[in-house]
């Protein structure tokens, strides 16, 4: 073997090792084991239709989960994200029902979501309240606004041009929301890896003080992360309503826990600074596959919350044990 070849082999080995040791690999393995296990359950699982319906089902929370990951990378989290989904869904629906065209209505709803993120970010960075208590309070405030402006009533008669975004298929097989999820995931990945903000985000989450001392405006970075979380929550909510065809203030209740579960399972650290888009997407898929499996196995939806809670505990424990070992 020539020296160059040997070097190439060695660097290939290193790359392989890095992949095997990566946080995402464990998540991927778990997903594969789940999929293989469930495929023995019956022939209904591994069908194109079922796979795509799982993907579509997780797209809405998946988009929100990417926002949650951004907030968690700063070392915080956004518990108001599911309420944000509901409120933006209501907003977009009310706007369209009162005659605003689809695209402006969506943009306004997403801006409203960014506004909620801005409030979260301002309270956390300027007043210095903890992210948990801040977003927990905002969770109730935002959900409350949804009930106030609808008086608890569902908003119906949404235009077909809108519901197509949630219910439509491309080429008759690929549901539209999946495309949104995929595009958002790619964009966030590119932002994280190839922009100044991306580097600053990881640095701020890794050590806020050291980053501030290095000239990073950490408050702005943290605020931006919450604003993006708000925007993605809103986008997820808008698409969810497009899928359901009706907006209700109670929609997406309790989703925040499933979203946190997905992000944590994907390897994002609760202390901030560690986490990837790939991991989060895999985490979202695990949640979706388990949910689908519970239904297919006739265990039923009453077990889903129970499973989500256990998954969070398991994921955090695994990350913790991994940290201790290294």
């Amino acid at each position: 073997m020539t020296g160059e070849k040997r070097q190439a082999v060695a660097s290939g080995k290193r790359a392989l090792l890095r992949i095997l040791r990566g946080r995402e690999t464990g998540v991927l393995m778990a997903l594969i084991v789940l999929v293989v296990g469930l495929s023995f359950l019956g022939k209904n699982f591994l069908t194109t239709h079922n796979i795509f319906s799982i993907l579509r089902a997780v797209s809405f929370e998946g988009i929100a989960a990417l926002g949650m990951m951004l907030a968690m990378l700063t070392g915080g989290l956004d518990l108001s994200i599911a309420s944000n989904m509901a409120l933006s869904g209501i907003l977009v629906s009310l706007l369209m029902v009162s005659g605003v065209p689809v695209l402006p209505a969506i943009l306004i709803a997403v801006f409203a979501g960014m506004g909620i993120g801005l409030i979260n970010g301002l309270v956390i960075t300027r007043i210095g309240l903890g992210p948990i208590i801040t977003t927990l309070a905002m969770m109730s405030v935002v959900r409350g606004i949804g009930y106030m402006i609808t008086r608890g009533l569902p908003v119906v008669n949404l235009p077909a041009a809108f519901t197509r975004l949630g219910q439509g298929m491309i080429a008759g097989v690929v549901p539209v929301p999946i495309i949104f999820f995929l595009v958002v995931a790619i964009v966030i990945h590119l932002i994280q890896r190839y922009t100044v903000f991306g580097y600053q985000l990881y640095a701020t989450g890794g050590n806020e003080v050291a980053s501030r001392y290095s000239g990073v405006q950490t408050k702005t970075v943290t605020m931006t992360a919450y604003i993006l979380a708000g925007a993605l929550g809103a986008l997820g909510g808008v698409l969810l309503i497009a899928r359901l065809g009706v907006a209700q203030p109670s929609i997406a209740s309790g989703y925040e826990l499933a979203i946190v579960a997905a992000v944590v399972i994907g390897g994002t650290s609760l202390n901030g600074g560690i986490g990837t888009v790939l991991g989060t997407v895999l985490g979202v898929l695990i949640i979706g596959v388990i949910r689908n499996g519970l239904v297919l196995a006739n265990i039923g939806g009453y077990y889903i919350q129970f499973a989500n809670g256990l998954l969070i505990l398991a994921a955090v424990a695994i990350n913790r044990l991994r940290g201790i070992r290294s």
Partner: protein, 516 residues
């Protein structure tokens, strides 16, 4: 008699053999110094003795009998107490509750009475020179007194051996004397002390015996009288450490000041300080904890609120309200605590290095991976950082190499002036002299440095000029090649100010002149 015997102790961590069969004996009643560079195995050895880590092989003898120490509780039952470098304490509990914290581990629902314990705690503290009410909250005590509480905690447990890990690193200079007398008092009580440090002046002052570790094995073992500080330094490093004395950079009288500040105040921490630094100069700031040296640097770098006064960088008046402004003005700041303020430990060398110049690297917006890697590689080469890759996670580098990463991330900004708050704190002898030579190279290029150090000899050796501070005010200015430690000590303890005020002061000066 030997109180503790370490025999061929081996400890391996994934990838490193931290202890390669260390053996030495600790005589009862002695002060036994354990010295070595960072990574020599001191900490691991302490952890093995304290029951925090298990040894892989070898034996630990206690009074000539083998003992098995599997937990901190075992260590305590044997009679070993450890005062850790960053000792964990319950600052929400009282002084007495902290001293008798170990009794809480025995108590479940049994009521505890604090009257006698409070009295005992008070007596114990007084014996070690601290006058405090036992019911004061520990969090309200200064760090030096908290350490005394930690030592009292060990004494209250009736241990026969106390292991102290870098005990003076947390102390201000004025607290050192009390600390040394405390060691004497421990000896009077018949308590043996293992003193882990790399501050050789302290070691030579208090130790009877010394063990030098290098790369996980002992390289010297014996009486302190059999070695000189220079010999110890050589044995620790395994190579000749450059002499401090030759370190002073060559003087350059000419040149506009790079930094000139006038009537510069930072809250009530620094009041109306004026000084200037010329290109090619390393200026030392000497002062005890709370004297304002650190606050002055933070204030200059836009890290403190309530800053007043004029700051000129290379003749231009500047307003610095944030690190961003400071960087734009050509300043760099190496903070005192690299773990808290300097580094992002969970990320790589390259990512840490690039953080100060992200926008420049990004050019028109897209920040590619390649320039970041190149920057990391350049840092490794420029400062000879021991790291196998620019993507190495900083947490796994040694202290000296971590400090070089902090330096690297500032050098890439190409600063005109570096503010360095104790840049060699907690780094080993070899890295220390490497950092000194990096600073010298920088000022050779016409840059300037302002630095502090917790070791006066270092400050005198490395700088051209020293400005002393006391209570937020500048108290003196000295040429480093003509000053003694005593001169500086007097200026930073406020002694010279008292002398100015009092007649006795004048008499002393006259006497001194007479002696001269």
């Amino acid at each position: 008699m030997n109180l503790l015997g370490i025999q061929s102790v081996v400890k391996t961590f994934p990838g490193v053999q931290a202890l390669k069969g260390v053996s030495f004996d600790v005589e009862q009643g002695s002060v036994h110094a354990l010295v070595g560079e960072n990574g020599a195995g001191k900490s691991t050895l302490i952890k093995v003795c304290a029951g925090i880590e298990r040894k892989d092989d070898g034996e630990i003898l206690w009074k000539e009998t083998p003992v098995d120490i599997r937990s901190p509780l075992d260590a305590r039952n044997v009679g070993i107490g450890v005062v850790h470098q960053h000792f964990p304490q319950c600052s929400n509990l009282t002084v007495a509750q902290n001293i008798y914290l170990s009794e809480l581990s025995k108590t479940t629902l049994r009521p505890l009475t604090w009257r006698t314990r409070n009295q005992r705690a008070k007596d114990l503290l007084r014996q070690f020179g601290v006058e405090r009410r036992p019911d004061e909250l520990l969090g309200d005590l200064p760090i030096g007194e908290r350490q005394v509480v930690e030592i009292c905690k060990a004494v209250a447990m009736d241990v026969e051996l106390i292991i102290m890990d870098e005990p003076t690193s947390a102390l201000a200079l004025q607290e050192l004397e009390r600390f040394f007398s405390l060691i004497d008092k421990l000896q009077e009580r018949g308590i043996t002390v293992i003193y882990v440090s790399h501050k050789l002046d302290e070691v030579f002052r208090i130790a009877d015996r010394i063990t030098i570790l290098r790369d996980g094995a002992e390289v010297f073992n014996g009486s302190i009288d059999d070695v000189t500080p220079a010999r110890v330094a050589t044995l620790m490093a395994g190579h000749d450490v450059r002499d401090f004395e030759r370190a002073t950079p060559t003087e350059r009288e000419i040149g506009e000041p790079i930094l000139a500040i006038e009537d510069f105040s930072v809250g009530d921490l620094v009041s109306k300080a004026s000084l200037s630094v010329r290109p090619g100069e390393i200026l030392g700031l000497a002062g005890l904890q709370g004297s304002g040296t650190s606050a002055l640097m933070k204030g200059l770098f836009g890290l403190a609120p309530d800053v007043h006064g004029s700051v000129r960088v290379e003749g231009t008046q500047v307003e610095i309200h944030s690190p961003k402004d400071a960087i734009a003005a050509g300043l760099a700041y190496v903070p005192a605590d690299r773990h808290v303020e300097g580094l992002n430990l969970i990320q790589s060398l390259a990512e840490n290095t690039c953080i100060t110049i992200l926008r420049r690297l990004a050019g028109r917006g897209v920040l590619k991976r390649n320039p970041v890697r190149t920057l990391g590689e350049r840092a490794i080469q420029m400062l000879s950082i021991q790291s196998h890759s620019p993507w190495q996670i900083v947490n796994f580098l040694s202290g000296g190499n971590q400090q070089k990463v902090v330096l690297a991330k500032w050098l890439v900004t190409d600063p005109h002036l570096l503010l360095l708050d104790d840049p060699t704190r907690g780094v080993d002898v070899g890295a220390k002299s490497e950092i000194h030579s990096i600073l010298r190279d920088l000022v050779e290029e016409g840059k300037a440095c302002v630095m502090t150090s917790c070791e006066l000899p270092e400050l005198i050796a490395v700088t051209n000029r020293i400005i002393t501070m006391y209570n937020g005010k500048i108290t003196g200015e000295f040429k480093s090649d003509m000053v003694t430690q005593e001169d500086i000590m007097r200026a930073i303890t406020g002694a010279t100010m008292i002398e100015d005020d009092r007649q006795e002061g004048e008499e002393e000066t006259r006497e001194a002149r007479h002696d001269g």
